[in-house]
Symmetry: C2
Subunit: 493 residues, 2 copies
Amino acid sequence: MTAAPSVEPVSAGSLAGFDHECDVLVVGFGCAGAAAAFEAATAGADVLVLERAGGPGGSSAMSGGELYLGGGTALQQACGFDDDPDNMFAYLRAAVGPHADEEKLRLYCDGSVEHFEWFRGRGLTFNESLYDAPSWMPPTMDGLMWLGENAHPYNTIARPVPRGHRPATRSFGGWLIMEALVAAAKAAGAACHEDTRATNLVVDDDGRVAGVVAQRYGAPVAYRARRAVVLTTGGFVDNEEMLAHHAPVLLGHGKVSDGLDDGSGIEMATALGAATRRMSAVEVALTALPAMLVRGVLVNGLGQRFVNEDVYPGLFSHAAVVHQPGPYWAIIDEEGYEDIPARDLWGVRPRFVTETLAELEEALGMPAGALEATVAAYNRYAERGEDPYFRKDPKWLRPLRPPFAAADPRIGFNAGDRESAGKGTGVAGFTLGGLRTTVDGAVLNHSGRPIPGLYAAGRAASGIHGEGYVSGTSLGDGTFFGRRAGRHAATSE
Amino acid sequence: MTAAPSVEPVSAGSLAGFDHECDVLVVGFGCAGAAAAFEAATAGADVLVLERAGGPGGSSAMSGGELYLGGGTALQQACGFDDDPDNMFAYLRAAVGPHADEEKLRLYCDGSVEHFEWFRGRGLTFNESLYDAPSWMPPTMDGLMWLGENAHPYNTIARPVPRGHRPATRSFGGWLIMEALVAAAKAAGAACHEDTRATNLVVDDDGRVAGVVAQRYGAPVAYRARRAVVLTTGGFVDNEEMLAHHAPVLLGHGKVSDGLDDGSGIEMATALGAATRRMSAVEVALTALPAMLVRGVLVNGLGQRFVNEDVYPGLFSHAAVVHQPGPYWAIIDEEGYEDIPARDLWGVRPRFVTETLAELEEALGMPAGALEATVAAYNRYAERGEDPYFRKDPKWLRPLRPPFAAADPRIGFNAGDRESAGKGTGVAGFTLGGLRTTVDGAVLNHSGRPIPGLYAAGRAASGIHGEGYVSGTSLGDGTFFGRRAGRHAATSE
């Protein structure tokens, strides 16, 4: 090894030998790794999972825990919603598109009911009730939530039904999902080496991936995988150089991760000639309050609206951060602010309150008349229950009247008086691009052929996503295609 | 070979032998290939260039022929402009940024005066006069043109001087540049095999690139490169699968290429473990008329302005196509239309002419009041010679008055009555991302180390560009870094 870390593959012949052996070696114990390990072990393989942190869970355990599932799950039925795989496919193709991976998406929708039952079979419970209000995350134990299905244009593309499935816990539920999946993988027989960071793939003379070299407490350890290596190492939001090269829109913003999403699996595989897909695709979240936006307007730094404010929050975030000049402002009036249920307010207070829009646009540094023109147009149509610009649902349309207020997403949620409030960008995200894989998780080379012995799933791979994202599709496709990768890795020859 | 074409590297040992040998093998005879071949041959190397088409030139020969040069060239001085490398760097860092490759950019600016002399030394002449009007391409023989340096915000970042250097010809000048560079390369001793399409890199046992396998008239031909292979195969706008995977924004639009920019060099190298940069970065051109836009407004499908219309046309195109909902419209009044010099009109006729903005916005399918509000705001400030929204130069600001017209970029330039007019998207582009290289053209692997014997330049590589583009920077950095790659390849060991 030289001073700078190498991600290049190592030939098996160059090693003194292997320290450990297994059939299927899973690298990374987040949701995709746990799903792969469970299925591979259940299929009879001797499975070992490497986790570089001190314990399993990864970024998945820190996530909100929404699972994007549908097609007629038991939970949807219990809540009175009639869904089917085609309807789910129509929505997702639009919402995670354009240019989503339709082959993966089709399987994902067709298998979603079974996948929900798989989660329940792992001991997760979902309360049979819907949280029927706009929110990044319901403040309740409700098991079902909307994720943009009921907003334009999606409500014209597919029959709107909610598909956000949430395990029964308050607030962030990722830890609960990961507790269940890690326990299931271990119960199925998967072992785990923690504090073990894979650094290079090991390759046989015939080009087959035969294991990995890892670092454990500062010393190299060699692992042999008799059947396959499954890379479930996550995305690359924590790797500044990879961001600069592939997804620079995220540079400078907050990171939705456990701090270890450094793209190592992607780099190890591409060093061996693996192909990637959509490395520039990202999820971004703007800390703007959905319950406030639906009752007001979201504007860019020039006071222009650019999206119907009732879309899934990840979509208004993407529309803002990727395409509009900042800063972004949530504009609302007193009546609207007071209409926000306390439980949906998340400690957001206006940064500016004024009697007139002229004063407000001046406070916000906008050209005189900019915000006035935007609100005048909004109000003129809202009187008639119309939004011909972006087609926000009529139920939210109401002319905005003095006094007015502007909330600043850079302040964040529940900021209180904490010193960091307002010092960030108000934006955090993660990467969606990764290794090009088949629907069974086999990693493909640049000629479109599988690299023998190598699989990937989760955010180390490119999943169902094109340009778009909705919550729950990352845990969703990570586990769904993690399971497929695990099953196929177990029988890889 | 199997049915589907493989781009994977071939081991030298697996070949029956080589059909041809040279010191430096250049793959692709566009501007970067010609520059590399010239320098390598001038340095004493035995140089062979492979060109898959029936003759040299590539996409470069079909280009406009602008060269983005400055820092105080003889042409700039003759036209009375005072430039220096720091000033040029300040502009380009902003214009081809954010996140441009500053190391390459610094060298490019510092070497620009010498590079201009190199072109003159190859026999190209440049008329010592400036075309001082907004245009995609001057309709004159003037040698110098503005490329956005005099528009906001760039005129606040660097001292505005024109840097578009144009060889003395009317209209497209790429063919003239390529005639000169191909002749120079051949005169320096470089040979060329035409109709020869490289398909795979050949690698020695020690991992060094030793040549290529090519197809010529349906038969495989093996080439050995004793010192290095230089990939100058161009970008990937003609490869639909690569576009879908890496730059989907270009899908469905026109292609600025000779039809052969299929990314083959990028794929051959990444198959060997080469790294890429910024594969999603693109140049896009909207067929909207600069001379019309500066005198009116450019609006999106909702009637909103989004950019100062006097920026370099590639920048308003990018602002529209990448970030705004279409269709896009050039809105102008009769007085403005009649003010356009005939030579800058390029056959553009309004698609709609109305007495009122209300009629016009209805014809354009915009919400009633949308365009009226935009023009009202524009006019109110134009009266005072101000554009607080986007800061268009005051010399273009004038209230728009009836009658009004809208031109449709989808119709194209000089469309006349041709049947295809209006059937395209009005957008064409090419890709800017490619192989990760050092400033000397060495191709780097995923560990940041050079792959022995492999160089790249031109659009097969990632050059000086971040997100942005201005005309002349592709021929510019293609030749500049092509020359460096050729020189270093000649002494590669």
